[in-house]
């Protein structure tokens, strides 16, 4: 396994824009570590990878990693990524989004990327809150929880991101948490190897804007909660609906084969009599 110090020099941009903007105890860095370890295992070179991010705390990851990197507008990362992938299919395109980024402002792009089944890897860092703008509720904030714009408790129902993208046609859907960091590596690694639209949801603590407001304790307490509530998909499915409280399944939730967008597109180029790239 790649050592931290090696990873810093191999994949980070230590001489560029550090220190990073993340708060102490933030989960985003753990997800970044998992991503780097996953990429190391795929054997891809840095030039073969494009890392696209949206706007938010998690969106800053593209600044720190030494790939071809693109920090886009809020919610639009997948749409930018679609253009890159279609224009240069040989590139491996990885997209990092926050939960608000991916499912609120970018919800439309997310569901359509799933439907198209384009070969892009989306990693959604779900911290259940809008971190960067100071803790407003997001589409994944649990009902009754507090946020800076939900002082009296959130009255909206949260999305289950994995179920959402499954319903929209993603061919690979997986979830892990920052407590289960090694599982996260392998889920990401598998998604990069998969030919189709893949979503990995990474549950990651935001102790500063979410944890504190909801009295969840510090980063360690929040990791403890992930440890307790995350069940392997097999164990989770054994629960009856009455038994399910805060538990959620982790692991590979969907993995199926379906024709990929560019492959279908190449067929049409042939029909049109064009030269298939």
């Amino acid at each position: 396994m790649i050592q931290t110090s090696e990873a810093i020099y191999k994949y980070l941009r230590p001489d560029k824009k550090f220190p990073h903007v993340w708060c102490p105890g933030c989960g985003a860095g753990i997800v970044m570590g998992a991503l780097v370890r996953a990429i190391e295992k795929t054997g891809l070179t840095k030039d073969e990878i494009v890392l696209v991010s949206g706007i938010g705390c998690s969106g800053r990851m593209s600044t720190y990693l030494d790939f071809n990197t693109l920090h886009t507008t809020h919610g639009r990362a997948l749409a930018f990524a679609t253009g890159i992938k279609l224009a240069k299919p040989e590139l491996t395109v990885i997209v990092i989004m926050g939960d608000g980024d991916a499912t609120a402002i970018g919800g439309n792009h997310l569901i359509h990327a799933c439907r198209r089944n384009i070969d892009i890897n989306a990693i959604i860092i779900n911290n259940n809150i809008y971190g960067m703008t100071g803790g407003q509720y997001s589409p994944t904030t649990p009902t009754n929880n507090k946020a800076s714009t939900a002082h009296y408790g959130n009255i909206e129902k949260p999305f289950d991101i994995c179920k959402l993208v499954e319903a929209c046609g993603a061919t690979y859907v997986a979830r892990s948490t920052t407590y289960h960091a090694k599982m996260l590596d392998s889920l990401i690694e598998r998604s990069i190897g998969k030919h189709g639209f893949c979503v990995v949801e990474a549950m990651a603590q935001c102790p500063v804007q979410y944890g504190r407001r909801n009295k969840l304790g510090g980063p360690v307490d929040m990791l403890q909660l992930y440890k307790e509530n995350a069940l392997s998909i097999g164990a989770y499915e054994k629960l009856t609906p009455e038994e399910i409280a805060d538990q959620f399944p982790v692991g590979v939730l969907v993995d199926k084969e379906e024709p990929e967008y560019l492959d279908k597109y190449r067929n049409n180029i042939q029909k049109a009599g064009g030269n298939v790239p």
Partner: protein, 376 residues
């Protein structure tokens, strides 16, 4: 431009064909009248040349996708009208800030909001200049004929590459839907991506080069790893708040256009030499204006026409220069006076307007009436 063959084309089609001739190989769009024919045409023709056509989920995504494609090294374009153009604004600003070449065609329709989908207008002159937030440059070209839909779309791609910036082709619905015979030129000037002259370790995508030269944008995946962001950035592309770097970043995008006005601005002048009255008109209205000039000359009025082909940057110095000799400037437009406002800036006491916002075109007679009014 040399030999040519003649074909009957619609403005929208000519625009799409011009884009193909310029080497555009990625189109992302969302249908909207009166620009739809551009997408429809390209959904057939792009595949024949191995290019990519994708109908995105909305205009925000379309604009994002063409920026992505351009960063991957492919010339890209989108086309839209009124409300769709509004949705694109955030990412047009992104392309401006991140200095990513691309072309946006806006076939204007009556507004605001859903307005008059099938009726022409010139209501987006200011949106094409200031639609996105912040101070930023813009290059906007305004064809008046089917031929110009072809040639100016090519020019838009050339300017986009040369200045690493989004370029807008602003057509009114009349020009987009008009049919004319045009000569497709065989030899056209095409500006392509420039190769980097330095090895990857030295490459700075936002470097200020001597003499105002613009650093080439190396496509992703070619060994030149760098960062692209819509945030104010340093010469390497990383977000910065350091005062000098902020100013350098913002000045750079403004001055690369400001310092090259002579190259970017194109106008057409018609009988202005001895004119006492000058009409300033663009797009389809310029054609009515030219007719009006002919009518007026027939009746002995000394009238000329200045047609901004480049609408932005606005040809202010040309107008200031010309207007010194003129008694009156007449600005007919299919809006309440958007270019009229610009003309007032260069000639405060001489400009009058002719406006029409009912979705009908401005006739030569209407302009003639105004000429008589101001001449007598």
């Amino acid at each position: 431009m040399k030999k040519a063959k003649e074909v009957l084309l619609q403005g929208n089609e000519a625009c799409a064909m011009g884009a193909l001739a310029a080497g555009m190989r990625f189109f992302g769009g969302y249908p909207i009248t009166p620009s739809t024919e551009i997408a429809e045409f390209l959904s057939v023709e792009l595949l024949k040349v191995g290019g990519i056509f994708i109908q995105m989920e909305d205009e925000i995504a379309s604009m994002a996708a063409i920026i992505g494609a351009s960063l991957a090294g492919v010339k890209s374009m989108t086309a839209t009208s009124g409300p769709g153009f509004s949705l694109m604004q955030e990412n047009i600003g992104y392309a401006s800030m991140a200095e990513v070449p691309c072309v946006v065609v806006n076939v204007m329709r009556g507004g605001p909001s859903t307005g008059m989908p099938t009726r022409p207008s010139q209501g987006d002159v200011m949106q094409s200049r200031w639609g996105t937030h912040g101070d930023h440059p813009s290059i906007v070209l305004c064809p008046q004929s089917v031929m110009e839909c072809y040639t100016l779309t090519i020019r838009a791609f050339n300017l986009a590459e040369k200045y690493r910036t989004p370029v807008i082709v602003l057509m009114d619905g009349i020009v987009g839907h008009m049919w004319e015979n045009i000569h497709i030129p065989e030899n056209i000037e095409i500006i392509d991506k420039r190769e980097p002259t330095v090895p990857p370790e030295w490459y700075e995508p936002y470097e200020d080069l001597p003499g105002g030269e613009i650093a080439p944008l190396v496509p992703f995946g070619e060994g030149y790893r760098y960062h692209v962001t819509g945030m104010v950035h340093d010469s390497q592309g990383f977000p910065t708040l350091v005062k000098d770097e902020v100013e350098q970043c913002l000045n750079k995008i403004i001055y690369k256009i400001k310092n090259n006005l002579h190259d970017i601005i194109e106008i057409e002048e018609y009988l202005v030499e001895d004119a006492e009255i000058c009409i300033i008109a663009y797009g389809s209205v310029a054609r009515s204006a030219k007719e009006a000039v002919k009518m007026a000359r027939g009746e002995g009025f000394k009238v000329g026409l200045i047609r901004p082909i480049t609408l932005w940057p606005f040809p202010r110095f040309h107008l200031e220069h010309a207007s010194r000799k003129m008694k009156t400037l007449i600005v007919p437009e299919m809006n309440y006076g958007q270019v009229y406002g610009e003309v007032l800036k260069s000639s405060p006491h001489k400009a009058v307007k002719v406006t029409r916002v009912d979705g009908e075109l401005i006739t030569p007679e209407e302009i003639m009436k105004k000429i008589e009014e101001v001449a007598l």
